[in-house]
Symmetry: C2
Subunit: 178 residues, 2 copies
DNA sequence: ACAGACTCTGTCCGATCGGTCAGTTACGTT
DNA sequence: AACGTAACTGACCGATCGGACAGAGTCTGT
């Protein structure tokens, strides 16, 4: 018998990925787990806390990747970042899927600064601190190019994951600025 | 003085793009327009109807693009689709931004079959009716490759749009299948 | 047997959601 | 001035949301 917390996280992960954070209610999770809604709030202080916990390992790894990029130049940093992100993605398949699937929710959800700021810092580390959005987009486009190149010849499930990952990167910067 | 319907659509478009469909309440739109919430529902039968109307022209164009692809082979169809999608994107910047920003909402929102089915058909036309998700992903990956190639040498704002568009394509297929 | 901690739930709460409706205002026509 | 219609609104509705809380059930050490 697995622990209750783990079951909740597993159900929440699946439901968040399928319907988004906003589109998943506590009752949905409770029904999926097979317990009461109140039980969720016994194990986790809030709905946000469930999401936070799902993202925690991803956030830590993003920070670790970012740390490695500091001394590198642009192109090299991009390649290193791709390698790191792919490794991260393969290690935390489900969490990363949520991370990317749920970017819309996250962006409307500033209460999760750990992952958000980590991603932000990663972008800065990759393309520099140039304030212009254009520069950052160009940097990400280059990254995505490398990313797509690396993706060839990989088994399909990994490729799907890479698509998701690429999408997340694009998503972060494609967002309208107004 | 512009018409009330146009003002509502404009506000809704901006807010949907910024916060998503789910993240935007009727009261939010009403406040932005400067009228009452009830007034929105006088001009539109429902919140969904506002979204539907925003998507209507995009849906029609997607169908038109799809129609052109039928007699073409894979590679040629992909190039044609990219051209069509870019043209579409540039013509309906705002609507397309919403389309792409809001894909998460749409996928949890089967009440908008016109756009959804049009996109679906477009995918089928591009990569064939192969039932395997892998095949479709591979097709889209190829499309994205062409897409990124085409995107070089374009002014930045257009490029941002292309990033958004690419993201939407990736998004559609990257979605987990469970 | 008892106490205390842990786990879980039924029930309630205030807030907010999309949507309805009766009624008021504004305005062109006669 | 009187009327009809379109535009608009305040008040309200049922449903659902995240969350609070007291209490019941279960387990373990003494």
């Amino acid at each position: 018998m697995t622990s209750m917390r783990a079951e909740i996280l597993e159900s929440a992960a699946r439901l968040f990925a399928a319907h988004g954070f906003r589109g998943t209610s506590l009752q949905d999770i409770a029904s999926d787990v097979g317990c009461s809604k109140a039980s969720l709030l016994y194990h986790f202080t809030s709905k946000d806390a469930i999401l936070s916990e799902l993202f925690a390992p991803v956030g830590r790894d993003l920070e670790a990747i970012q740390g490695k990029l500091a001394p590198l130049d642009g192109e090299q940093a991009a390649r290193e970042a791709v390698a790191g992100l792919v490794e991260l993605a393969l290690r935390f398949r489900r969490q990363v899927k949520i991370l990317l699937v749920d970017v819309d929710d996250l962006l409307c959800h500033p209460e999760l600064p750990d992952v958000d700021s980590a991603t932000e810092s990663l972008v800065d580390a990759l393309v520099g601190r140039a304030p212009e959005q254009e520069c950052r987009v160009a940097g990400w486009m280059a990254l995505v190019g490398i990313f797509l190149t690396c993706a060839r010849g990989v088994d399909v499930s990994d490729e799907v994951l890479r698509v998701e990952l690429t999408r997340g990167a694009l998503r972060t910067l494609g967002r309208p600025t107004d």
